[in-house]
Amino acid sequence: MTAQVIRALLLALLSIVVALPVGHFYAPWAGWVVFCGGLGLQMLFHFRNFARLDRWSRAPVVDSSLEGEGAWDGIFGRLYRHEKDLRAQIARRDAEIAMLIAAGQALTDGVVLLDNQNQILFCNTTAEMQLGLVVKTDRGQPVVNLVRQPEFVAYLTDEDFSRPLTLRSDRNEDRVLSIYVIPYAGDRRLMQIKDVTQTDRLDRMRRDFVANVSHELRTPLTVLAGFLETLQEIEVDREEQARYLAMMSEQSLRMQSIVQDLLTLSSIESAPPPDNEPVDMVNMIDKLRRDAEALSAGRHTVVVETDGQGDLRGSEPELVSAFANLVSNAVRYTPPGGTIRISWRASSQGAEFAVQDTGIGIDPKHIPRLTERFYRVDRGRSRDAGGTGLGLAIVKHSLSRHQAQLDIKSTPGLGSRFAARFPASRVAGI
């Protein structure tokens, strides 16, 4: 700094040194002109640098470097370096923030950040899908404006976040969400949303299973116990006694078949993978047709559609029981006069066994749960038809052991089609 002052003074002195002889020998005013001219030159020099700084400060760019002259160069250099460092720092921070956001996006749980007014600050794509938000337009919008379910609004306004809220989403059918709210940074809130649909379903299935087993076994047991009591307490004639015994044996057979089915199911579940022996399909289809005709007793038309090509690889007893189950279902749920169509098609891509009926059909909402144990579309009807409620569960298990998919299509009142699709690895003789 002092160097600059000394330099300015020296320059002024130089002007004086030049101006004095001019003033003395020529004319005093000329001396003044030279002196002022010297100072003016100095001012011009500073002003030029000042203008440069002024221009740069309006749009500080770091790609064209800021250069000054003389004393200004040092200042300009420091300013320029400072600006450059700041920019590098900002770029680093930006990259860090972008990485954090990317991490937030990568989470499989939904995340929504809220401010103290419950307005949306940020949400990731998972949350967008779960709650039907669009982060671009919804930033700053109170979250309750878009997630309007009263349970959610109450949960957020009650401010008791000790337990998560379980919410059945109204935008995505049948999704069950578990919402945690975690306060952070003072009065901000982080909402974490887990999709618990699968767990919820498993829980319900387990609960239902125990309840159903007990219920299914209790019903015939009650009948048995009732008749036993009657026979013990009251004298009944021989004919009546025979009738009671017939009913009792019918009920005990029912219980037996339920237990049998349960055992089959558990043995399929724990059995080793099915063998790879080819199963003669022509023979099997023929047998299925005869079974269907026997069960129908002439009330339905049974049609077989097959070109006789290809066989399946797998366990014959399991496949027979699965296919027979589909066929007997079709017969039982088709009113007299209907048609049962059994088809078998195989190609190098895979094979399909299908049973199509013109029966009562199934409401679409039941189809996803149809293969659950003891799931019944119509309790009364199914039991009257002699079902244990386990048939399709066994079918699905046997098929999935053969890597096959069970595809169910149905229109109420028109009929259903149950198709088992096998992958190419299970097809033989093509």
């Binding site: 337009t137 309750v144 309007r148 009263p150």
Partner: protein
């Protein structure tokens, strides 16, 4: 300067609170409608009571919001878009409240049918489809209001004619059934009233969307064919 800024931000907050209240009321109506549909397909009559109770809450909210609108107009004397927002809201709440009433009607109709016996399954799919379409309209109309999104509002208005067409085809189907078998008439009449209520819910959603367009653009598109270009 400072004072007026302070006042106007307070005013903004009041407006935003009002909007949130409207949307909360909308949320209640949405649950009412979806609960009514569930009751229809599952036959769980227990939820009918909840729907009727929710309706009471909806009615209270309607009154409270109307009150707030009157207060804001009197106290703040809003102009331009703020005024349109307040006016629009006072019409939207009327439509929402009526949609809630229709949901109540559906619930009561369902109860009547199940109390008299079975729900004939052949109408299930059609009615449910219609109801889902109407529920989607309500949801999207409210979304459009929350986001002040006229594009979505326009879509809702278009969807209404689809719901109307579907409603008519259900009625035709029911008439055929009634002519074939007069024993079904009692149930069919109940189902017609349910279908009618669903169709009305769609209409109310359409009205809400028209108000959204009015609030945002200042264009009154009621009773015009302006949208269907």
């Amino acid at each position: 300067m400072n004072e007026s800024q302070h006042l106007s931000s307070q005013f903004d907050e009041e407006l935003s609170r009002l909007r949130t209240h409207v949307l909360q009321m909308g949320g209640l109506v949405e649950t009412q409608v979806s609960a009514a549909i569930d009751a229809y397909s599952t036959g769980e009559i227990a939820s009918v009571k909840t729907i009727v109770e929710t309706d009471r809450k909806v009615n209270e909210l309607e009154k409270a919001i109307d009150d707030d609108c009157a207060h804001i107009i009197a106290k703040r004397q809003p102009t331009a878009s703020d005024l349109r927002l307040v006016l629009g809201i006072s019409k939207i709440v009327t439509d929402l409240e009526r949609a809630g009433d229709e949901a109540k009607k559906i619930a009561k109709g369902v109860r009547r049918i199940y109390e008299n016996g079975h729900m004939p399954s052949q109408y299930g799919v059609g009615i449910r489809h219609l109801a889902e379409a109407a529920l989607t309209m309500v949801r999207e109309a409210l979304d459009a209001f929350a986001r002040l999104d006229t594009v979505q509002a326009t879509e809702v208005i278009r969807a209404d004619s689809e719901v109307d067409t579907e409603f008519k085809s259900i009625i035709r189907q029911l008439i055929t059934h009634m002519m074939e078998d007069p024993r079904t008439i009692t149930t069919a009449i109940d189902i017609i009233s349910i279908a009618r209520a669903i169709e009305r819910i769609g209409d109310h959603a359409k009205n809400v969307s028209e108000q959204v367009v009015y609030v945002v653009e200042g264009r009154d598109i009621r009773h015009t064919k302006e949208l269907i270009k």
